[in-house]
């Protein structure tokens, strides 16, 4: 019979890591939606919005709310996806050249939240493992 036994089980750590990843993704989503609302995006000219207001630059990315409302999160056991399925979402995020020659600047509302994701996850995990 052994005098001294040390058993290590990674199940608790993995469970906390998954919980932290879930929370980090939820935080990513909140940050991304806040970016859409933020009046921080450069735009080359003034535009009359659908409510009649005239907006210049910087501005938010909200007109009729189609982009913001098109957000579809999807959570699987080991994977989270964040989808904006408005049919102009990619053109907003990446910028676009239009058939009339206009160039729309890129306004990637997920860029900053994506940069924050790793550090957010680390902080959330650290709290859980204490």
């Amino acid at each position: 019979m052994a005098d001294f036994v040390l058993k290590l089980n990674d199940a608790a750590i993995i469970q906390q890591a998954r919980a932290a990843f879930k929370e980090a993704n939820e935080l990513f989503a909140r940050e991304a939606l806040a970016e859409i609302d933020a009046k921080k995006w450069d735009w080359p000219n003034e535009t009359e919005r659908s409510n009649g207001s005239v907006v210049g630059s910087p501005r938010n990315i909200v007109d009729q709310g189609g982009l913001k409302g098109s957000y579809q999160p999807d959570a699987k056991p080991d994977e989270y996806s964040h989808t904006w399925d408005a049919d102009y979402a990619a053109a907003v995020a990446l910028g676009a050249v239009l058939s009339d020659g206009t160039t729309l600047p890129a306004r990637n509302w997920t860029e900053e939240p994506a940069k924050n994701l790793e550090s957010n996850y680390e902080q959330l995990l650290e709290v859980k493992l204490k």
Partner: protein, 121 residues
């Protein structure tokens, strides 16, 4: 350090037989590849390539720290008849690029089909 002019020359050679043309206001034509924003009076036909005039800096994780690398945005734009997919494949296979991102064509909104690459030094 990679320069935009060098990248332009490489892309022009790579896509030599696929590039469309700019039609200038006087009717003259030139290959549809440009560093920066082309003249708004020019009309592009076929495949157009735009290269960002200035690179963005990307932090690369390397052994014992990080380093900075230049990344150029390259945009392939389809103005009518062009094989955008074939051109995108050629660029992806030739350069150290991130996965190309597609902006789908949307006739209602006037959005042209285009691929955006981030080409790294």
């Amino acid at each position: 350090m990679m320069k935009a002019a060098y990248l332009r020359a490489k892309l022009e050679t790579l896509l030599e037989f696929q590039l469309g043309v700019y039609v200038r206001s006087d009717g003259a034509t030139a290959k549809a590849i440009w560093v920066g924003e082309p003249n708004s009076q020019w009309q592009a036909r076929g495949l157009e390539v735009r290269i960002a005039a200035t690179p963005s800096l990307e932090v690369k994780q390397v052994h014992q720290g990080s380093s900075l690398g230049d990344t150029f945005e390259v945009r392939l734009i389809s103005h009518g008849k062009s094989d955008l997919e074939k051109a995108a494949r050629a660029v992806a296979q030739t350069f150290n690029a991130s996965s190309p991102q597609l902006v789908p064509q949307n006739d209602t909104l006037g959005i042209l089909a285009q691929y955006v690459f981030q080409i790294k030094q």
